[in-house]
């Protein structure tokens, strides 16, 4: 059982890495790129058979407190 957490910078936060990569893509000739946002991907291995609802609750709590910083980041949580 695995939890996947994708963390991205909030839209209002300047993302210099995203801007630089977007520019690089444009220099390379890729067209149609309107934005690049660079974040983090975290995989958490869970004990097989863990209750999904309880895991979701606990991981949302962890994502809010530690894994992401709500001041500057948004996150998406998936459990599979």
């Amino acid at each position: 059982m695995k939890a996947k957490i994708i963390i991205t910078p909030k839209k209002a936060v300047v993302d210099p890495q995203g801007i630089t990569v977007k520019k690089a893509l444009e220099h390379m000739g890729y067209t149609g790129v309107t934005g690049v946002h660079i974040g983090k991907y975290i995989e958490i291995d869970l004990t097989p058979g863990t209750d999904k609802v309880a895991a979701q609750k606990a991981l949302n709590d962890a994502a809010h407190k530690l894994l992401s910083n709500p001041v500057i980041e948004d996150y998406k949580l998936e459990i599979e």
Binding site: P9, A12, V13, V14, P16, Q17, T20, L66, L67, N69, V71, I72
Partner: protein, 236 residues
């Protein structure tokens, strides 16, 4: 006076902070991150460095260390806490200060002297800084760009919580004088109660002429004066 200087794995300005405090004739002890109590101290310095390797986010892991729980309690009781560089990041992650510090806008690590304008003398961290004095102190960080949402910025302004801003040599808050892209050129702020402050520049590295500048002393002198007044007030 007695100060605690916190020490996390990969703190690297802890000895500098101790040296600066002792240079001014005060007692400073290093306090390991696993300590649960601060002991009998008048003030706390959260020093610069790369606590816990800056893993996840700068200051994110340090926030949960035992010593930070004691610092939170100390701050809640009105104790003076100053976070320098990584210490500032730890204090924002701990929600002792609002906002966050993100990657410098040019993605570069900046190690240089900058100029600071003191936005208000109304704090225990700025009271002794001479009016109009532009401080020349070093910075050394890759993630010092101060960010906060509009609402938080408005609050910081309304409550006079912005303490220091990056400026040029004559005190103008220009974009070129801003080394990291910080909103409103913010280099340091305090909390609403004004007993917790954080700044990205390193005043502890600029306390003796031998080091190229002793402008950092004004920040320490302000802290000493505030603590002295407090002691007098308690005694009275």
């Amino acid at each position: 006076m007695n100060f605690a200087v916190l020490q996390f794995p990969a703190s690297n300005c802890d000895q500098d902070a101790v040296h600066a405090l002792q240079h001014f004739g005060h007692n400073a002890k290093l306090l390991w991150h696993k300590e649960n109590s601060l002991g009998d101290v008048d003030g706390v310095i959260v020093p610069g460095g790369f606590s816990y390797g800056d893993y996840l986010r700068c200051g994110a892991i340090a926030r949960f260390s035992p010593v930070m729980q004691a610092v939170k309690q100390f701050a809640d009781n009105g104790g003076l806490v100053l976070g320098i560089c990584n210490g500032f990041q730890v204090l924002t992650e701990s929600h002792l200060l609002p906002g966050a510090l993100i990657r410098n806008r040019d993605l570069q690590f900046h190690c240089e002297n900058i100029f600071l304008k003191t936005a208000t003398n109304d704090s225990p961290f700025t009271s002794q800084i001479p009016a109009g004095k532009i401080l020349r102190v070093p910075i050394a960080h890759g993630e010092g760009c101060y960010f906060a949402d509009e609402e938080t910025l408005a609050k910081l302004k309304a409550n006079n919580q912005i303490l220091w801003q990056y400026c040029d040599a004559t005190g103008n808050l220009t974009d070129t004088a801003n080394p990291n892209g910080a909103l409103l050129n913010i280099a340091g702020i305090c909390n609403e109660k004004r007993n917790v402050a954080g700044l990205m520049p390193h005043p502890e590295r600029a306390c003796e002429p031998l080091l190229g500048s002793d402008d950092g002393k004004w920040i320490f002198e302000s802290i000493f004066a505030a603590l002295k007044n407090k002691t007098v007030a308690v005694a009275a």
